[in-house]
C-alpha cells in the first residue's frame, strides 16, 4: 500500500474533470474497451494477412471495428473534454455499426461466409459488442452531466 502513496495522482486542480471517464465503473469500461481493441486488432490483423480473399467484406468490417475500439479506448484513457466528445461519437458509430453489420449478415450471408467481430450482432463475442456502446453512452453522458453540474456549482 505504501507503494501506491509514493506516487500520488496530479493535483485535482490540474486534472481535467473529464478524467472521471476512466475511474470507478469507467475503469472497468475502459478495460473492456481495451480488451476489445486488442483482440479485435489481433483477429482482424490475422484475417487480413492470411485469408483476406475469403471474405473481404467481413474482414474489412472487422478492421473498421478494431479501429473504432482503439479510438474509444484511447479517448477513455485520455479523459479530456475533446476526448469525451470523440468517445461519444465512436460509441454511436459502434452501435450503428453493430446493428448495420448484424442486419447485413442476415440479408447478405454470402459476404459473411467468415464471421467478422460484428456479424450477427456480435454473437461470437457473447453479444458484448451490442451492449458495450450502450453502456458506454450511458456512462459518458453520466460523466458529462456531473462535470457540467460541477462547473455550475463553481460559477455560482
Amino acid at each position: 500500500m505504501a507503494l501506491r502513496n509514493a506516487h500520488p495522482s496530479p493535483s485535482p486542480a490540474k486534472r481535467s474533470p473529464y478524467s472521471a471517464m476512466h475511474t470507478g465503473p469507467g475503469r472497468a469500461l475502459t478495460a473492456v474497451y481495451g480488451i476489445f481493441a486488442l483482440s479485435a486488432t489481433a483477429r482482424a490483423g490475422y484475417q487480413v494477412i492470411r485469408e483476406f480473399d475469403v471474405a473481404p467484406v467481413a474482414y474489412s468490417l472487422s478492421l473498421v471495428a478494431a479501429v473504432i475500439y482503439i479510438v474509444a479506448t484511447i479517448c477513455l484513457v485520455i479523459g479530456s473534454r475533446a476526448s469525451h466528445r470523440i468517445a461519444i461519437a465512436s460509441c454511436i458509430v459502434e452501435f450503428v455499426g453493430v446493428i448495420a453489420v448484424g442486419i447485413l449478415s442476415f440479408t447478405h450471408p454470402e459476404d459473411f461466409a467468415k464471421p467478422s467481430v460484428w456479424s450477427t450482432f456480435g454473437i461470437g463475442y457473447g453479444f458484448i459488442p451490442l451492449v458495450l456502446p450502450l453502456i458506454g453512452l450511458w456512462w459518458l453522458s453520466r460523466v458529462g452531466r456531473s462535470v457540467r453540474a460541477g462547473q455550475q456549482e463553481r460559477s455560482a
Binding site: 500500500m1 475503469r27 472497468a28 478495460a31 486488442l38 489481433a42
Partner: protein
C-alpha cells in the same frame, strides 16, 4: 541450458535437414516418440495449471467486486502469477514449435501475445484503481484470458 543448441539446429547442419533431428529420423524407434508423448503430457498439465490460475483470478476478482473491495496485494499477485505463466507458455511454445505440425505460428502466437498484453495492461490498470472496479478489471481480463487459453489449446492440437 540456455546455451545448448536445439537438436537439429546445430551450426554445421544449417538449413539442411540434420539427420539426427528427431522429426526426420526414419523409424528411430520408441525413444523419440516416447519423448514426444511425455512432452505432450507436460503441456497438458501446464494447460490445466493455466486454467486453474485463471479460474482462481476470475472468481476471486468477481467476489471482490461484489464485496466492494479494492484489488489487494494477494489478488494482484495472482494476476502477476498468471502473467508469468503466460510468458512461460510463450517461451515453451517457441522452443517446442518445431515438434508440432500444421500450426499457423501467426494464429497461435497472436493469441499468446494478445493474452500477455491483456494481462499486463489489466494488472497496471487495476493497480491504479482504488475502488471495487480494480477487481472488476481483473475479472474481465481473467474471462478473456480463459477464452484465449481454450483457443490456444484448440489451435495447438
Amino acid at each position: 541450458m540456455g546455451t545448448d543448441p536445439i537438436l537439429g539446429r546445430e551450426g554445421k547442419c544449417g538449413q539442411v535437414q540434420c539427420p539426427i533431428s528427431p522429426r526426420i529420423a526414419p523409424g528411430s524407434g520408441s525413444g523419440a516418440a516416447g519423448a514426444v508423448i511425455r512432452l505432450e503430457r507436460v503441456f497438458t498439465v501446464f494447460t490445466i495449471v493455466l486454467y486453474a490460475v485463471t479460474a482462481v483470478l476470475t472468481v476471486w476478482s468477481i467476489v471482490d467486486t461484489i464485496r466492494n473491495r479494492p484489488a489487494g496485494k494477494m489478488l494482484l499477485g495472482v494476476a502477476a502469477l498468471l502473467l508469468l505463466l503466460l510468458i512461460v507458455q510463450l517461451v515453451v511454445s517457441i522452443v517446442a514449435f518445431s515438434s508440432t505440425h500444421d500450426v499457423d505460428p501467426l494464429l497461435f502466437f497472436g493469441y499468446v501475445i494478445t493474452a500477455i498484453l491483456v494481462m499486463a495492461l489489466a494488472g497496471f490498470w487495476a493497480f491504479a484503481e482504488l475502488s471495487r472496479w480494480g477487481p472488476g478489471v481483473l475479472a474481465a481480463a481473467g474471462l478473456t484470458v480463459a477464452v484465449m487459453i481454450e483457443r490456444m489449446d484448440q489451435i495447438w492440437l
